[in-house]
Amino acid sequence: MADMLFSVPGIINGRFIGFLLDIAMAALVYYYIKTRKMVHIRRVPGLDAIEEAVGRSAEMGKPVICSFGIGGFTYWTLAGLSILSHVARLSAKTGSRLIVPTGGGDQALIVRPVAEEIVKTAYTMEGAEDQYNPDDLPFYSGQQYAYIGGYVGVMQRIRPGSVIMTGSHASEAMNIAETSNAVGAITITSGSYIGNVAALACASDYILIGEEAPAAGAYLSEDPSQRASIRVQDLFKWLAIAIVVLGIAARSLGNDFLLRLLST
């Protein structure tokens, strides 16, 4: 790490700029939500396709499979749960059977009751409580590959119309995506690390890349002010690009001001 430009009393050396950026980001999200600003955001094909996938399953009379990962309460899992909530509402609305494979890790045991609550709430909100069946959230053990054995097995037996796999899936993601493709289901996935994204991009019909999965809750919300908070992500990505370009230019000219500023 380069030398800092200055130190700030009370703040750990090297963390001042990070702290400022975090605060700025939080403040902007708050601003966009509270002022109910109407902004244009780009379309995310992977999220738009969810409705089409659930609709297609309903037309074909086939079930929908949606999973939220095998991890504990990480942001990937939370993003997966947010998408599950949307899929559950769509399934309840269209009368599609929704199957949510759970398990895969000991931490996933803790997430399972929340997922159950989410699906139940979604069915209740759509006035379809009678369609909710807790047995459609099967628990396939706390072991990753036992879970995937169950997951792949259910896909091959019931031949779903669509498979929506989000959240913190690890290496088993490929087993899911490739089997889903083999059984002819619309496959929508998200990868929690880039290696997975590259492989899943080849195996899936639609893929959520990077921040698209965490943004799902806001994007799928019917409230425009919620959707506006996604704008903050784009703003900070532009900022990152600007810093990278400026950094390259400055370093090429032998100036390390930006590097030192970011190390502050």
Binding site: I12, V29, P113, E117, V197, Q226, S229, Q233, F236
Partner: protein
């Protein structure tokens, strides 16, 4: 009491306070805050351990319910519960030797490894199907995939060194740039998502509906 604990406002306040106790000491040089944060994190990890135990118990009760109802596939549930109890018992006897040790090495290890090995077949068939030069973009993907694949075979480098600089160049420029941008975008997405959760705008993650 249960109703109070399920109150949405209370849950969000607890979440916000917990967040601040962990977030602030990472940046601020306040020893008291640091001590409080360490204590909170330790408490969290203990609570999580108890939560796992509770979750196992809940799963156990659910399994028994399924067996009693003779729902479809109930015998798999019975098998799972039986192995759960057996492994718990075995681990209490000894973890260094005996049946626990045997099950881990003779059953879990080979089953887990074989399942993982199958992944190679899935990856290969996906790649074989996806790498088709259907258009210019796909052609570029195919070419870079070809170079990286041929470089990744250890035998190639021993006889043909020409692929190494190209593969390393692709990895350290396009590959690395994509990796970094992925990290940046995921981080930004996670922070924005976190703020939304703390503000109570992601009620579904608490198992709540918007109207609650």
């Amino acid at each position: 009491m249960a109703e109070i604990l399920k109150n949405r406002q209370l849950q969000i306040i607890v979440m916000l306070l917990s967040f601040l106790f962990v977030f602030l000491p990472y940046f601020l040089n306040v020893p008291q805050l640091n001590t409080a944060s360490t204590k909170l994190i330790t408490i969290t990890s203990i609570v999580t351990a108890f939560t796992v135990a509770l979750a196992v118990l809940a799963q156990f009760r659910r399994g028994i319910n399924i067996i009693n109802r003779r729902s479809r596939g109930w015998y798999f549930k019975a098998y799972m519960l039986m192995t759960l109890v057996l492994m718990l018992g075995f681990s209490l006897i000894s973890r260094e030797t005996g049946p626990y040790h045997w099950v881990m090495f003779a059953v879990v290890n080979p089953l887990s490894s074989v399942n993982y090995g199958i992944l190679a077949f899935y990856m290969a068939s996906t790649a074989a199907r996806a790498f088709r030069a259907r258009n210019t973009k796909a052609l570029l993907l195919l070419l870079s995939g070809f170079i990286v694949l041929i470089y990744q075979a250890p035998l190639t480098g021993a006889y043909f060194t020409g692929f190494e600089p190209i593969a390393l160049y692709l990895g350290s420029t396009f590959g690395l740039a994509a990796g970094r941008m992925f990290l940046i975008s995921v981080t930004v997405g996670a922070i924005v998502f976190g703020v939304r959760v703390i503000m109570g705008n992601e009620p579904s993650v608490l198992g709540l509906s918007k109207e609650e």
